[in-house]
């Protein structure tokens, strides 16, 4: 498959989705069903690989590109993932310029409160999947306390969590 065509097909999938894995049906339709350049098994492995590493789940698009055309295909996936992000800037410019108005300030504060609710809500499925015993519960609690009560660098919290997990797996 031509690299430009691959980029455009992946871009079509990313630009029509609004979060993580909602681009999946488009990719499945275009690459698995229509063009036959990707298998269902590969698509599943791509989603799993995207979740196994750090970063957004949307990175599975990079893995899809890799399955289709190797490393150059992965680069196309990366570009397709990055391209729509810049659409936010005109919106930020427009609203940022109006932020002196009381109504807009009130709206932004409302959004901030809703965003906090959203963060708590998206914690729940993650907690069900990852907080299963005393060790993982302790890690979640300690990271919450360290990140609210101290100014400790977040890198140390992540390193400490990985270390604790390794230790628990060894013991």
């Amino acid at each position: 498959m031509n690299l430009l065509v691959l980029y455009l097909l992946l871009l079509k999938a990313t630009v029509t989705s609004f979060s993580g894995l909602t681009s999946l049906p488009v990719i499945h339709h275009d690459l698995v069903v229509e063009r036959g350049v990707l298998t269902d098994r590969e698509l599943n492995a791509a989603v799993a690989a995207g979740r196994a590493g750090p970063g957004p789940y949307g990175l599975y698009v990079v893995s899809v590109g890799y399955f289709v055309r190797g490393v150059p295909g992965a680069v196309m996936g990366m570009l397709a993932l990055i391209t729509p992000a810049f659409l936010i800037i005109p919106m930020a410019r427009y609203l940022g310029g109006k932020a002196g108005q009381p109504r807009i300030r009130g709206a932004i504060e409302g959004v901030m409160a809703a965003a906090a609710g959203l963060l708590v809500a998206s914690t729940l499925p993650l907690a069900r999947a990852s907080v299963s015993d005393a060790v993982s519960g302790g890690i979640a609690l300690v990271s919450f306390v360290l990140l609210t009560a101290t100014r400790l660098d977040i890198g140390w919290v992540m390193l400490g969590a990985a270390g604790a997990g390794l230790l628990a797996a060894v013991l």
């Binding site: 989705s17 979060s19 970063g55 990175l59 890799y66 729509p84 409302g110 906090a116 609710g117």
Partner: protein, 190 residues
Amino acid sequence: MPAVSFRELGWIFLRIGNLTYGGGDPIMAAFQRELVARRRWLTAERYALAFALARVTPGTNVLAFCAAVGWFLRGWPGALVAVPAATVPSGALVIALTALYEELQAMRLAAGAIGSLLAAAVGMMLAAAWNLLRPRLVAGNRLRIAVLAVGALVLLVGFSSSPLLVLGLGALAGALWGVPSPERELREPA
């Protein structure tokens, strides 16, 4: 506030974007702490604006978030530094994980470390929610903020409302229900 250098900007996006497990939301939570609470490069209002707009921008939310924050800090060049810094290393790692996927699945050690990183991400997101709300919970504004945040949570968890709808309702309720918080700045980058 002095302009953030491109080196500092690239480094922070490199670190936060590629160290955080559990998808896009924990990354945005980590940025709340690093950019708003610790370094004060970003006001809570700009953070909230980037967070909300990222949801309505097509594509992966957290990348749009990084573009907006990079733009707030250093304009277009800032956005062009921030987005690749936050994605290229973990993208390269995804390629490696794709190639090694079957082998890794069998490794108990890797599974243990990843499980703990996800558990830490749970604590991190709760911390970000609290850090966002805490400075707003001042006399006269406490009820408003608490009702808006708890209302959002109830809609999301109890009624499975779409995040977009909840953010929209939050904006509407926030605009209609007074503005008691102190003056803030939310202008374009210098």
